[in-house]
């Protein structure tokens, strides 16, 4: 690359950067699919489109079209040929503010060498994960109808109104980082984020961290210490890691910081439990 990369002025650099980002995203996706396939239990094939457990295709798919980023994850038939097309919501959209986009780009840049990985996120669980869950929650079959209406809580609100977030996993240091922008429907005290919304994001980040580490796990306890209120609409960074593993118990902790790392908003510790197929949960 060298000097030729810089020649041609800012517009050309932007275009080349976007092409590079596109190529990088495609390689990220294929790596993630490999990871997902490796994680799934042997012999479990992705579900065909007609299965009632599969989420319906979101008719609002057009909103997520990012013409500026070719080869993005959502709806790319080359990546999801045998599965129902999901909408990956961990990607920039018009509601993301400057700080959010900047952070996202920084992490995507860090993902170039493979030490970081962007984790996709959908309105309901992966079809492969759903297969896992079915083993652990056999009674869930009885509620199939209602389940097909269900949506993952942090993704249940419309674009920009609730939780806008993206998670990145550092494979080398084994920690998960979530960049989060809280929308207007997450209010608690006027002008600030609801404690429960903060708790939801902490639970989601720690849950992702646990799942990446051991597979299917559920929250057993959550201890959150709120140090400063988070203004509504601001962007925060949640850093989480696994502290200790004892058999099926996972001890995780995280903190919530501002973008410039000068303010610590919250700290939390938690206990997650890896699910045992032999133990019923209900």
């Amino acid at each position: 690359m060298g000097r030729s990369w810089l020649a041609g002025g800012p517009a050309l650099i932007r275009t080349r950067a976007l092409v590079a980002v596109g190529a990088m995203l495609r390689s990220c996706v294929s790596r993630l699919r490999t990871l997902a396939v490796l994680r799934g239990p042997p012999g479990v094939a992705p579900l065909p489109a007609k299965d009632p457990w599969s989420p319906r295709v979101n008719p609002g798919a057009g909103r997520r079209e990012r013409a500026a980023k070719p080869g993005c994850v959502r709806g790319d038939p080359r990546s999801f040929s045998s599965e129902v097309i999901h909408m990956d919501l961990s990607l920039p959209n018009p509601s993301w503010n400057e700080d959010m986009r900047l952070l996202f780009d920084q992490f995507m840049k860090k993902s170039e060498d493979g030490s970081w990985k962007r984790l996709p996120s959908y309105k309901s669980k992966f079809t492969q994960r759903t297969e896992d869950i079915k083993i652990y929650f056999p009674d869930a079959k009885l509620m199939k109808e209602k389940l097909s209406q269900a949506q993952l809580f942090p993704r249940s609100l419309e674009e920009g109104l609730g939780f806008e977030y993206a998670m990145f996993h550092n494979c080398v240091e084994d920690r998960t980082v979530c960049i989060f922008q809280g929308g207007p429907y997450l209010q608690g005290a006027p002008g600030f984020l609801h404690g429960g919304a903060i708790a939801t994001m902490i639970d989601a980040t720690l849950g992702t961290c646990a799942v990446v580490a051991v597979g299917v796990a559920m929250t057993a306890s959550l201890n959150i210490s709120f140090k400063r209120p988070i203004p509504l609409g601001s962007v925060v960074v949640i850093n989480s890691q696994v502290d200790k593993v004892e058999g099926r118990k996972l001890f995780l902790s995280c903190n919530i910081q501002s973008v410039d790392e000068k303010t610590v908003y919250s700290e939390a510790t938690s206990l997650f439990v890896k699910l045992d197929p032999k133990t019923r949960l209900t």
Partner: protein, 227 residues
């Protein structure tokens, strides 16, 4: 390992400035929230004549259990001194005129902001809840029916959605008891999975007791009746 119900402990406190130490939160103006008696706080909170929509009322998505418990507590509001708290779309509507401490005031007054536990507007999709408060016992009970959009693991409620419900109940109770405004810490032990997709099948009454006098006491949540 798994037992019925769940327990949570929360610590709320007056934000005193420690001598010699940089304080984390600005001092709250006592006259704005804490100086008032519970009765005056309740009367300012429960606006009798208002155009605002009260979401804490029965609707078509409520299951029979929820309706029965609601009727039971409604009876108690006439006889035992319980008060049904209204639930508006924003906390700003509840605490009109409340002065937030310096440094915590919202930078802009946006009317499209909604309180988190009323974020999903379609009936039955998200949070369906009512809080009953007893001013002299400083105790409250929240009847909560989770909807399918509160899902975490397929078929079960998201841990965060339950944490949010608990935090909401705690903060309303603490505010009306004159004990606090912002949550300092929240400790939750999840004992049993909570089906969310079974909307209409599972409700949990959450009981919050605020011990009188000591502002730094932890508040116990006792598990509600079995569902």
């Amino acid at each position: 390992m798994i037992r019925r119900g769940f327990q949570a402990v929360i610590r709320l406190g007056h934000h005193r400035v420690l001598p010699g130490a940089p304080h984390v939160l600005p001092r709250l103006n006592r006259t704005s929230a804490f100086g008032s008696s519970t009765d005056s706080l309740v009367s300012r909170f429960c606006l009798e004549k208002t155009d605002l929509k009260d979401y804490a009322l029965p609707n078509a998505s409520w299951c029979p259990d929820m309706l029965n418990l609601y009727q039971e507590f409604l009876e108690k509001t006439k006889t035992d001194g319980w008060i049904k708290l209204p639930s508006f779309k924003s906390n700003r509507d509840h605490i009109q005129g409340l002065k937030l401490p310096f440094g915590l005031a919202a930078t802009s007054d946006k009317s499209d902001w909604r309180i988190f536990t009323r974020c999903l507007q379609v009936e039955g999709q998200g949070y369906e809840y009512v809080i009953f408060f007893h001013p002299s016992k400083k105790k409250s009970i929240c009847l909560f029916q989770p909807g399918p959009y509160l899902e975490g693991a397929p078929g079960f409620a998201h841990g965060g959605s339950l944490a949010a419900m608990m935090d909401e109940t705690f903060s309303k109770t603490a505010y009306l008891a004159g004990e606090g405004l912002f949550t300092l810490s929240l400790n939750i032990r999840f004992k049993k999975c909570f089906p969310s997709a079974a909307a209409g099948r599972g409700i949990v009454p959450v009981t919050v007791t605020v011990p009188a006098q000591d502002p730094l006491q932890s508040k116990e949540v006792s598990p509600g009746s079995d569902w």
